[in-house]
């Protein structure tokens, strides 16, 4: 049986990798992937907790719904999918006008 803390540590590592990638990478596609990584790190902790409460239902506090972790993961996936659609569209539009994916060159709102 894998303890909860392992999942959470993995989740924190993935999230940190996402943050670091977001901060240091210049390529906008990589940044986008880093954001996805952070979202999925959070998803991992959601499902970990959901699983934990499923196995320890006797300790479940009265105000917590047992499957809320899984439900939230679906929400996050929906948001991530929408974000990917909109984000990739923006990236393509930027690339068409600027011919670059380097964010440091895309720091002006005007053309």
């Amino acid at each position: 049986m894998v303890p909860l803390s392992w999942y959470l540590i993995l989740s924190a590592i993935l999230f940190s990798l996402g943050v670091v990638g977001f901060l240091i990478k210049r390529n906008i596609i990589t940044i986008f992937m880093s954001i996805e990584l952070m979202l999925n790190a959070v998803n991992l902790s959601f499902v970990s907790f959901a699983n934990y409460w499923h196995q320890n239902a006797d300790k479940l506090p009265a105000n917590v719904a047992p499957l809320s972790g899984q439900v939230f993961v679906f929400f996050v996936m929906v948001v991530a999918a929408a974000e990917a659609a909109v984000g990739l569209a923006i990236i393509i539009a930027v690339f068409r006008t600027r011919e670059t994916l380097n964010v440091d060159r895309v720091n002006l709102l005007k053309l």
């Binding site: 943050v19 977001f22 901060l23 240091i24 964010v103 440091d104 720091n107």
Partner: protein, 687 residues
């Protein structure tokens, strides 16, 4: 039951006049301006006469001192100062002198100022002065007295600098004000000491409380308080070391010199000391200091007066010298003699100034006596009134100063501390007084006319401070010498009568007189003898008046004292006659002989220069280097500018956060999140 004297009317009327003329006078014709000013002053004088008559001590109609209160002015739990008036024999004398002489000088000014610009301004200031002076003499507490005290200083400043376009006049005004402030500082400290120990500044309660104290033989707080009050008096009454402003104050129009700088304001210090006689009489050291200062001032001012050639400056030094006499009288606890001399001096010195003004007016603004001469026949009214005043101040038997000055010298002689020395200096000063006054008299009225006299080298030496013609007359007077109009002559005549007769209110016992002024003022003052008597005898027991015993034993001494001063005055007259009438070349030969001494005296002992080097320059340097460059520019500006610079620096650093770089914002967000997590972990660990 006391009738209501409504004393508040007396000072308030001139204030109303000042307000009307000051606010609306610009549109008035000159006639309206002088009518308003004269009317209010005259009614004030009339009211004062009525009040004094009603409250006359011998009539018993009013219980003296009469105190009139118009509510509280300052009111705190620990201290209160009422807005009230106080009438006793001392303030009776003062209020009559101020309103009476003031009214005459107002009349005179109508003629004298007729051709000057700023006519309404002049009368507004003059009325304002009357208001403050009357507040000063009628106040029933030291604080209200101080209001008048500062107010007359203000009016004096405004009137000295009346011809404000002239630098010397503006400077003289500032000098008078600043030098007076030094004295006022002492006065304030004295008042604070009184508040600290008595908790009040009301005359009746201060004197009531001080009467319970014994004489302060040492240097206790009472002596310190008295000395502080005296410092205030030296400023206002132009005594050493603060006399320097008065000669310069002659830059003002001549009626101002007569009213403020001869008859009334400068006597405020004497009045204050006489008013505080209960305090001073319990502080022998302070009294001795007053006597010494007065004596020295009288002597040195008289010597300085001998060498001056500006007619008004001679009179200015004479005023300083006469004030020195009054100071000396206060110092030997002869307060009534001081007030007596104050009153006679108000008559003859006001007259001297007004007559000098009439002379200046007559010859078109010239003030240098070396350019006068031979005016006796041309301006007879001025000549005869001036003669009366000159003889009066010189102490000719029967005239005003004969009685008042002799009273002072007599009391000085009889005083316990080195009285003979004080007397000797006083007598020498009397001789000098006689000399410089007759010098003025001969130079102005006798000999030949010399309107264009070459003033020669000596003039160049004095040009810097003496020869500037202060009177701003235009050339319309240049056409010839003329007697002044009647509005100027009438006050002269009235004052001349006063100069001749005013001494008779104080004829001493030795002339079979009753020394009425002494007895009149008796209730208002306390001499050391009274202090000693009240502390030694039982209350209610008969208090032997020390002076009575003294006089009985010393009639012979007194006769010889009187003889001496008359003789000395005659000697002064003789030398003036010899040097400035009979042998006119003699003065030059003498001054050539004692050139160094002469120059020293001519330059007034270099006191102004000494003060300049000793106080003004170091103060200026200190202010420039330390206070201006150091404190003001360095610290204050440094702090203000530093605050701005610091904010700018911090802003400049913080500005870098707003880089426009998304990833740096994200880094801040991440750092913030990390900080929050770290904080929560720390909280969790704490549990």
């Amino acid at each position: 039951m006391n009738p209501n004297l409504n004393l508040w009317v007396i000072p308030l009327l001139p204030l109303a006049g000042a307000a009307i003329n000051g606010l609306l006078g610009r549109r008035f014709k000159n006639g309206v301006v002088s009518f308003v000013a004269l009317l209010f002053t005259a009614v004030s004088f009339g009211w004062a006469v009525w009040a004094v008559w009603t409250a006359w001590p011998e009539s018993g109609r009013v219980a003296l001192p009469y105190i009139e209160s118009h509510g509280n002015w300052i009111w705190t739990s620990a201290f209160s100062a009422p807005f009230g008036f106080y009438l006793d024999p001392l303030s009776m004398v003062m209020v009559l002198v101020v309103t009476g002489v003031g009214f005459l000088i107002h009349i005179y000014s109508v003629g004298y100022m007729a051709h000057e610009g700023g006519y309404y301004r002049f009368f507004s200031y003059l009325n304002l002065f009357m208001f403050f002076m009357l507040m000063l003499v009628l106040a029933n507490n030291y604080l209200l007295l101080f209001v008048g005290w500062e107010g007359v200083g203000l009016a004096s400043y405004l009137l000295i600098g009346f011809f404000f376009l002239k630098d010397s006049a503006a400077d003289a005004g500032k000098k008078a004000f600043i030098v007076n402030r030094i004295g006022d500082f002492g006065f304030l400290i004295g008042m604070f000491l009184l508040i600290q120990h008595f908790g009040t500044l009301n005359f009746d309660s201060v004197f009531g409380q001080v009467s319970k104290l014994g004489s302060d033989g040492g240097w206790g707080w009472l002596t310190i308080a008295a000395i502080c009050l005296m410092v205030g008096a030296t400023g206002k009454s132009a005594q050493i070391p603060l006399y320097v402003w008065l000669p310069d104050a002659m830059e003002g129009p001549t009626p101002v010199s007569a009213l403020i700088h001869a008859a009334t304001m400068v006597t405020a210090g004497i009045y204050m000391i006489a008013r505080s006689s209960a305090i001073f009489s319990r502080a022998p050291h302070a009294l001795a200091l007053v006597a010494v200062i007065g004596c020295l001032t009288a002597f040195f001012a008289a010597t300085m007066g001998m060498a001056q050639t500006d007619i008004k400056r001679v009179l200015a030094y004479s005023t300083v010298s006469q004030l020195g006499y009054m100071f000396m009288a206060c110092g030997v606890a002869a307060y009534s003699a001081a007030i007596f001399h104050l009153m006679t001096h108000a008559f003859f010195k006001a007259l001297l100034f007004l007559a000098a003004g009439s002379v200046i007016h007559a010859i078109g603004g010239e003030q240098d006596m070396r350019r006068m001469g031979g005016l006796r026949k041309l301006i007879p009214w001025t000549f005869w009134t001036m003669t009366a005043a000159t003889f009066a101040i010189a102490g000719a038997p029967g005239l005003a100063a004969f009685f008042s000055k002799d009273e002072i010298l007599d009391k000085a002689y009889a005083s316990p501390f080195d009285g003979h020395l004080l007397w000797a200096v006083g007598v020498v000063t009397a001789g000098l007084t006689s000399f410089y006054m007759f010098r003025l008299w001969f130079m102005t009225f006798f000999g030949e006319r010399r309107p264009n006299a070459d003033l020669g080298d000596a003039h160049a030496a004095t040009a810097a401070h003496a020869a500037a013609p202060a009177h701003g007359h235009d050339d319309s007077h240049g056409h010839g010498v003329h007697e002044s109009p009647w509005v100027m002559v009438v006050p002269l005549v009235i004052l001349a009568i006063g100069s001749v007769l005013s001494g008779w209110v104080g004829v001493p016992h030795i002339f079979k007189g009753h020394d009425r002024i002494d007895g009149f003022l008796q209730p208002a003052i306390q001499t050391p003898a009274d202090v000693a008597a009240s502390s030694e005898t039982q209350p209610g027991a008969a208090v032997p008046h020390a002076a009575v015993e003294e006089e009985a034993e010393s009639a012979g001494v007194e006769w010889s004292l009187i003889g001496t001063s008359v003789a000395v005055a005659a000697v002064g007259f003789f030398f003036a006659w010899l040097l400035y009438y009979k042998q006119r070349d003699l003065p030059d030969r003498i001054t050539a002989r004692i050139h160094g001494v002469y120059l020293t005296v001519l330059h007034k002992y270099y006191v102004d220069e000494g003060y300049g080097a000793l106080f003004v320059k170091p103060l200026l340097a200190l202010s420039t280097v330390v206070f201006w460059r150091g404190v003001d520019q360095g610290m204050i500006d440094g702090m203000v500018n530093g605050a701005g610079e610091t904010a700018k620096e911090i802003g400049g650093q913080l500005r870098r956060m707003q880089s426009g770089n998304i990833r740096s914002y994200a880094a801040w967000v991440a750092a913030g999140g990390a900080a929050v997590i770290a904080y929560m972990v720390w909280l969790g660990v704490g549990k």
